[in-house]
Symmetry: C2
């Protein structure tokens, strides 16, 4: 990679990390520059659209990487129940290893900026669509009916996003594991009667 | 209410509305003052802890109000499936009526500020605990086993939070309705085999 490409990559990775921990408005461009040890003019050189463009690209990068992790976990798991448990485990470890600072790399920016920035909303939307597609494809592979796979994949995505949010606020990951187990029950079609 | 009490209430309500739409960092105290038509000194007079105290109280207020809505919907519904559908409907209407600006009044501030402010994290935590308790109590009332009610209530809370987030990003509330229906299946213990 050229020095120029390296600087761009470093800016993007630093921004992605800061946005994940602090959110969009809580992260200043000066901090991105300082933490990436990048020259002052480099940010607008590489991201002429400024913070908005940087955030959209950072969400896209983090989203693609996490999507690849999901795909790998889905491929390695023998069934939906195991796959959901390992995805939950991935989020739980990320939270615990970062003292509950690193939850979902998309959710915070999504909630903050979706109403004010169409490029950021569109980037978050594309990431969620890609994740949903990874889950839906895996569910079909495990024999879930075609017409149910997309809907279940949405429920999986919703539940995990919410559980990671709750775990971060509670500073306790157990909600992630319980939610993943309940999703496994739902998808297995062997939900134990709770009554 | 005294004029002083009215000013405090107006500041709080305005702040709650702005935090819900724009998040914590995206909302400036000057905007809170201007939108509440409150005198400049009044904010620090009523909230000596400044923005942090205002946000913690705003989340508490919004959380209590929405918790009362949840409790009312639970009480009016004949079963978990109906109750979850109406809670989903409530969130969907709030999003649609606000051009997708008003999702959950807690989630954005929670994700942004939980890592940096212990008072805000604690306020969000207390709201989520109260909501979880409303759901758990209702589930017990519908005959869900004692040892499953708390866990299901957590899954309900997670799934709805995530679905509201996704709906806001997609500008499409259908994910909320589908997720509520899947939760109904799970809790009814009559999850249709998807295979």
């Amino acid at each position: 990679m050229t020095a120029r490409g390296e600087t761009r990559g470093r800016l993007l990775r630093t921004a992605a990390e800061l946005f994940q921990r602090q959110g969009y408005h809580g992260t200043g461009l000066n901090q991105v520059l300082a933490d990436s040890r990048a020259p002052k003019g480099s940010l607008y050189f590489h991201f002429p659209g400024g913070k908005e463009e940087l955030a959209a690209e950072a969400v896209t990068l983090s989203g693609r990487e996490l999507g690849e992790v999901f795909a790998g976990l889905m491929e390695a798991a023998p069934d939906a129940r195991t796959a959901l448990a390992t995805v939950g485990e991935h989020f739980a470890r990320s939270l615990e290893d970062s003292a509950f600072q690193k939850g979902c790399p998309v959710a915070t920016v999504a909630l903050e900026a979706a109403a004010e920035s169409e490029p950021i909303r569109a980037a978050c939307d594309a990431v969620y669509a890609a994740w949903q597609s990874v889950f839906a494809t895996a569910l079909r592979g495990w024999g879930v009916r075609e017409e149910r796979a997309d809907s279940f994949a949405d429920t999986v995505l919703s539940s995990l996003q919410g559980a990671v949010l709750l775990a971060r606020i509670r500073r306790d990951v157990s909600v992630i594991h319980r939610t993943a187990r309940d999703l496994g029950d739902l998808i297995d079609g062997r939900s134990p009667s709770p009554v």
